[in-house]
Amino acid sequence: MSAQTLIPPEPARRAFLKSAGTVTAVALTIGFDWASSTREALAAAPAAGVPFVPNAFLRIGADNTVTVIAKHVEMGQGAYTGIATVVAEELDADWAQVRVESAPADATRYANLAFGKLQGTGGSSAMANSWTQLREAGGKARAVLVAAASKEWHVPASEVTVDRSVVFHAGSKRQATFGSLVRTAQGLPVPDTVQLKDPKDFKLIGRQAPRVDVAAKCDGTAQFTLDVEMPGMLVALLKRPPRFGGTVKSFDAASASAIPGVVKVVQVPAGVAVVAKGFWAAKQGREALKVEWDESNAEKRSSATLMDEYRRLAEQPALPARKEGDAAAAIRNAAHKVSASFEFPYLAHAPMEPLDAVVKLSADGCEIWAGDQFQTVDQGNAAHAAGLDPKRVSIHTLYAGGSFGRRANPGSDYIVEAVSIAKAFGADGTPIKLQWTREDDIHGGLYRPMYFHKLEAALSADGKLTGWRHVIVGQSIMAGSFFSAMIKDGVDPTSVEGAANIAYAIPNVSVELSTTKTGVPVLWWRVVGSSHTTFAVETFVDEVAHAAGEDGFAFRRKLLDHHPRMKAVLELAAEKAGWTDAPLPAGKGRGIAVAEAFKTYVAQVAEVTVGEDGHVKVDRVVCAVDCGTPINPDNIAAQMEGGIGFGLGAALYGAITLKDGRIEQDNFNNYRVLRMNEMPRVEVHIMPSSEPPTGVGEPGVAPVGPAVANAIFAATGRRMHVFPFSKNGAV
């Protein structure tokens, strides 16, 4: 049984991952069957020490501790702090007494409302989907505490106020801590509705609340999956086929088994695992293990071969992703035509914590510890691998040492590997930690897909942009997974987002998609489609502006009159960067780019210095962002800074390439990422807004590549058409 049969798609109410177009979301609801003892404990009469639990998101202890239950993983994006801030705001809790705990895997209570009925984190949706839900959770709990005080003091609830976890009645000069009201609160009903605060009364939202996870991340005490240890736990490393699509033909475990500390060698669907008493023994065992692979169905092509094919496909008919007017005719009849093509490689996510998961599997249950990003999907896939009902699978979500999309994958690769190893080991309750190495991560697939883009534009004699044709060639992320229900008329929305919804006012637009198939598994990578589409659109629009003899900022601005939020961030970035100031000296250049991703608007201006040897140093990036109501401005700034560094590393150096089907990169030596000496000075300006909040984890990535490319052009007259820029001799 595949995940597809396990998880039937159904038309959905809300868009998943992306705003544009009609989409469907996956509907599946898997709860967790609480142990009966837990149920009994929860059902027991209120007693001393039992917390007040008004809903699934909140627990208030007699010791005044406010525990917020986070349904989203904390992988660096600040979700724990954002979630706690929203709950604490409406609760009027004392921030110093707020703690965050991760929710169990239980989609009946903890679904991501942007994903339908699925619990998971992605698409920069953590705050957007839970904004109202969490405000109500906090507000209703506050209402019960007020009612408790009103009952104890025999005063009208309307006269009771709350400030920093203390409830007051001014008239009788009485006050009580949350903790002291817990017992009374337990006996009171939770209201169905609650009046939420007027934003002008916010005390935490919009302020610089310190992150709840920072202190433990400065002294080494934060718990990641790597740090899980339990009695009798073993460590497994998995030997996978050297080419995608390979399978085990045979293996010889003798040398591996001879390594001291190796306990067992087991075959699983993904390869052969060495299970040992620790990492070092497992690694030595894996090196000694001899596996013969059947590569008859393996992908054996090279990146260059694939790109040649993509280039040819760009000249063939493709499927429409957006069509307005007649772009082909406009281009045919244009006074001036502009054209360019762009090449993008596969990219690995390479989170700092290599993938890992701890599984404890027995005949009647499976317990998983992981920096889990896709709880409901992982629960279903783990259950399938284990041969259990999904309700018998529990997940402890720990801090994830980065993800950038990697830990949310429809096949739950690393989770399924860990479960299948535990099953092959004997499903005897032995805790087993599957640990990937960095090489496993770089070789392991689920990359941002390779793409080829071809763009053509029409300019009228007076320099007006009259036609735009954009052809995208590449693999679908959603095809073949249960997300394929979101593919409409052959167009995977994640292949064209950022291109099909191009914001500029152009009378004739055609955006087309040619979807390819390869044996290389692909996945969303931070900012998903906009990781390539924004580059193509924003670099090409710069070329068109140049061809029209116009300044890149002014040209864009004129085309955004109907799009006030996007125009406003563009103007803010330009103003703060001093776009109209005196030109930079020779060898330096400024570039601008703007994007909308996950309903957040970001514009960036990059300043670069290009040496005589072509070496590019990005000196400064000025970023303007409109993400609706800013919940935590410092975290918004941090996410923009991080997104800029992440996107810049990819733009300068990032490439996963295949040679005869084998991945040519192995580790950070040849899969280069941004380092300290390459980080530009970043200035972030947040647009004031009272719109509902949108995400910040991903959008900052989108504009940095094109802003830098446009700055390189300004400095040198050279365009960056091939990713990464190092391939253009620019680094």
Binding site: G76, D213, A281, M352, G401, G402, R438, F668, M676
Partner: protein, 153 residues
């Protein structure tokens, strides 16, 4: 086989394969989990510890090589520079995912212990071996300058 050395100021004898990298000996034998595994090839700095006061990559240092020497992990940091670094890390809200930060703190502490007023170029040179995929680099730089000021104050 056992190897004896000083771990976080106290004598330690670890019974483990002498070729085992110090990283795994510290994590799995000594049970200190603050030091992280990122690359296994001294390319990312997540496993940085101090050996006789110098920052080293414990993922490629065999346990046998530390016999008789002094190893300090994030759990054993005690110098005023270390405390200043950790306080500045909190002040500037440096960590995001946090996984690399033990290594960043170890490298930054080692830098300040030998250079009380590092320039941006000194920071680049001391810190470029520590990768942060969340790209918290600007805040790390600011926090190092803050820590340097507070040590001098």
């Amino acid at each position: 086989m056992s190897t004896s050395f000083v771990l976080n100021g106290k004598p330690a004898t670890l019974d483990a394969d002498p070729t085992m990298p110090l990283l795994w000996a510290v994590r799995e034998v000594a049970g200190l989990h603050g030091t992280k595994f990122g690359c296994g090839m001294a390319l990312c700095g997540a496993c940085t510890v101090h050996l006789d006061g110098q920052p080293i990559r414990s993922c490629v240092m065999p346990l046998s090589a530390v016999a008789g020497r002094e190893v300090t992990t994030i759990e054993g940091l005690s110098s005023k520079q270390a405390k200043a670094v950790q306080a500045a890390w909190i002040e500037h809200q440096v960590p995001q995912c946090g996984y690399c930060q033990s290594g960043q703190v170890m490298s930054a502490t080692a830098l300040l212990e030998k250079n009380s007023s590092p320039t941006d170029a000194d920071i680049d040179s001391a810190m470029s071996g520590n990768i942060c995929r969340c790209a918290t680099y600007s805040r790390i730089r600011t926090a190092i300058h803050t820590a340097a000021q507070s040590v001098k104050a």
